[in-house]
């Protein structure tokens, strides 16, 4: 037995099966005292077809996934570098082609056309609603957090606070809160958009100015605290927010500007176009910023703060800017959510939500706008698809186990994300190399000092 286990391929196979078995047992339909392994329900005999077996017997599916995963690992370990070299050779021509400006603009234009036509292609009400509530909102949040985490390299674990403030601003200016709106004059949620964006940016500055002097872990903890404080405030300040009852009766947005009249109603598609417009706007602003003087300052701070200071960059100023600019899209996302669903509850703005957005950014590729957008769309679409009906006994409460597993796999095989930002990818490789080098330094220079 021990001899058999000494063989790496076999050992890996057993480990993969063990890990998958643990995930299988931890997820799936909930068990009870009498039947703790409810996930195993069903039998071979019930399903005549092969695919039927897959659909109801989760352990068959998981065993299959384990074998596939093991196969991929085995092939990759022996052929990985060679495959990568060949792939790169093949991709030289297409890469050159896609890196030219007209092609890029063409691809972007085509994507925009697809995005505009999408609600007409997808007719199902479920997906039309999901496109706004679950995908567009998450894309907005992910691209905003990407400015903070990806561009400026600041770990923000309380990003949900800006989303909450955006949503509550919509409730406030429309008179849906106990707190009377400005000048006692209730506005339409459409006008809440600029107010919310301005307010979250100011909040970003107020929070950032004192706390962004902190670095790394300390900043993460302060932002985590900030996220919690804002949620608890919304929950406890009954006189201002109606507390845990949430805010109901937030009206739908509408425009009455001279000849321009439009009322957003109950249907999700108009909200989709509103969201799409702002997504495009934020994407343009963020990518212009990325390649501007400000973006270069962010890169410099991320790479070496002391060096950045020595060339005359004020780190605090640019970090606060990243915080405020990144918050803007969350402010709009908050208004969108509040005015579309008409109600908001403090309990929906949790730490888990912040982390969820962070996962989208990391999976998509920190610092890469295209990657973050793709990551958010992909993950949210798959999640929604799983939520919509029983697929393979998936339970919504298990989402984070699967996302966690996915995150681990990604960190091993593609640490810089789906579409890595070129610079971030190199930074990750470099820090790994640094780690090895510093170890080598210890070995080589140990007796020198």
């Amino acid at each position: 037995m021990t001899e058999l286990l000494a063989k790496p391929p076999l050992r890996r196979l057993l480990i993969t099966i063990a890990v998958v078995a643990v995930i299988e047992l931890m997820t799936g339909p909930p068990g009870s005292n009498t039947a703790p392994t409810a996930g195993f329900k069903g039998s071979f005999a019930e399903h005549a077809s092969f695919f039927g077996l897959f659909r109801t017997q989760r352990w068959v599916l998981f065993l299959f996934l384990a074998l596939v995963g093991w196969g991929i690992v085995m092939v990759w370990m022996t052929n990985g570098p060679r495959v990568r070299v060949t792939l790169n050779k093949w991709l030289v021509v297409p890469r050159k082609f896609t890196s030219t400006r007209p092609v890029r603009w063409g691809v972007l234009g085509a994507l925009l056309v697809v995005a505009v036509l999408l609600p007409h292609i997808i007719n199902s009400p479920f997906w039309q609603a999901a496109m706004v509530e679950q995908i567009a909102v998450y894309v907005l949040l992910a691209i905003g957090l990407n400015v903070v985490v990806g561009f400026a390299g600041l770990l923000d674990l309380g990003y949900v606070a800006f989303y909450l403030i955006g949503a509550y601003t919509a409730a406030w200016v429309t008179g849906a809160l106990p707190l009377p709106p400005l000048f006692n004059h209730a506005l339409n949620p459409f006008w809440a958009i600029p107010i919310a964006i301005a307010l979250v940016m100011i909040t970003g500055i107020l929070l950032g100015a004192p706390t962004l002097r902190l670095r790394g872990d300390y900043l993460a903890i302060v932002t985590l605290g900030f996220g919690e404080i804002v949620t608890i405030f919304a929950n406890n300040l009954y006189g201002i927010t109606d507390g845990s009852l949430g805010s109901k009766l937030i009206p739908h947005p509408s425009i009455h500007l001279g000849p321009l009249k439009y009322v957003w109603g109950l249907k999700p598609v108009p909200y989709y176009y509103l969201a799409l417009g702002f997504v495009v706007l934020f994407l343009i602003v963020f990518s212009l910023l990325e390649h501007s003087r400000v973006g270069r300052a962010w890169t410099a701070i991320r790479e070496d703060e002391v060096a950045a200071e020595s060339v005359g960059i004020n780190p605090l100023k640019y970090k606060v800017m990243a915080f405020a600019i990144g918050a803007a899209s969350a402010g709009f996302a908050g208004v969108l959510t509040a005015s579309q669903s008409n109600f908001i509850f403090p309990s929906s703005f949790t730490l888990t939500f912040s982390i969820n957005i962070l996962v989208l950014v990391i999976l998509g590729g920190m610092g890469s706008i295209a990657g973050v957008v793709l990551g958010a769309i992909l993950i949210q679409t798959v999640t929604e698809w799983l939520n919509n009906g029983q697929h393979w006994g998936y339970q919504p409460s298990d989402l984070y186990i699967y996302l966690g597993a996915l995150l681990i796999v990604m960190m091993i095989f593609r640490p810089a994300g789906l579409i890595p930002s070129k610079r971030r990818k190199r930074e990750i490789l470099l820090s790994e190399a640094d780690h090895e080098n510093s170890h080598m330094d210890e070995v080589l220079l140990g007796d020198d000092t």
Binding site: V311, N314, R426
Partner: protein, 236 residues
């Protein structure tokens, strides 16, 4: 040009600089010498705004810069080449140079070309990433980056650290050229013999104090300096 008066620097309860005073005149190269832990790097950290003095005063061209923040120095005309070079590893040589001119308006391509003339190796490597340069090239890049801000005073922290003797020779040669071109230089060094052959004047630091200062040529022949820093005797 630069006057430091009675500067005291503390790290918490520990006093790193016990009231040091020295000055740098326009057009000079001044070397600050001392062993490990003598307070050289702390002095430079203080001069570049990374650590404010607890008491004392720093004047640059008559202006009080004691409480000036690190990022404001490049605008004033003081550029700092930090210890350990600290170039931006994931930026190309060219991008690194452009970052050096971050606070300058208008075109900087003339300055860049000038840097490529001074450091021909950087021109060869201009598309390469900072991380992929050799130690000597990184040091040249760090100096060139600092010069891109057109400083009147250049602060160099241990430019010879970790470099081969031949490259140290080249770098010190370039520091001489920089002075000839009109930039005043304050260099902190452990490599005393190299630094003193280049500098006009030198100060020797020990335990957070400046123990003596003199013309470089006198220091080179000073017995105390020879004994401790030039390794002519084993006593310490």
């Amino acid at each position: 040009m630069l006057d430091v008066k009675d500067a005291v620097v503390r790290y918490g309860a520990i006093t790193a600089l016990h009231g040091i005073s020295f000055n740098v005149e326009q057009g000079e190269i001044v070397a600050l010498l001392g062993a490990n832990g003598a307070g050289k790097s702390t002095t430079l950290r203080m001069l570049s705004g990374l650590h404010a003095p607890a008491s004392g005063q720093i004047l640059f061209e008559g202006e009080d810069v004691t409480r000036t923040k690190a990022h404001e120095f490049s605008k004033l005309g003081i550029s700092h080449v930090p210890e350990g070079r600290r170039i931006f590893p994931q930026m190309s040589v060219e991008e690194n140079l452009e970052m050096g001119a971050f606070n300058r308006r208008g075109s900087t391509s003339d300055d860049r070309d000038h840097m490529y003339e001074t450091f021909p190796i950087l021109k060869e490597r201009r598309k390469q990433l900072g991380a992929n340069l050799s130690g000597g090239e990184q040091q040249m890049l760090a100096i060139a980056r600092a010069l891109m801000a057109r400083p009147r005073l250049l602060l160099l922290d241990e430019p010879s650290m970790g470099l081969a003797p031949m490259i140290v020779e080249t770098i010190f040669g370039i520091i001489g050229e920089i002075r000839t071109a009109g930039t005043t230089v304050l260099v902190v060094e452990q490599n005393a013999s190299q630094a003193l052959r280049l500098a006009d004047r030198g100060y020797v630091m020990e335990n957070g104090r400046i123990v003596f200062g003199d013309l470089a040529k006198n220091l080179l022949h000073d017995e105390r300096v020879r004994a401790v820093y030039l390794g002519e005797s084993v006593e310490s």
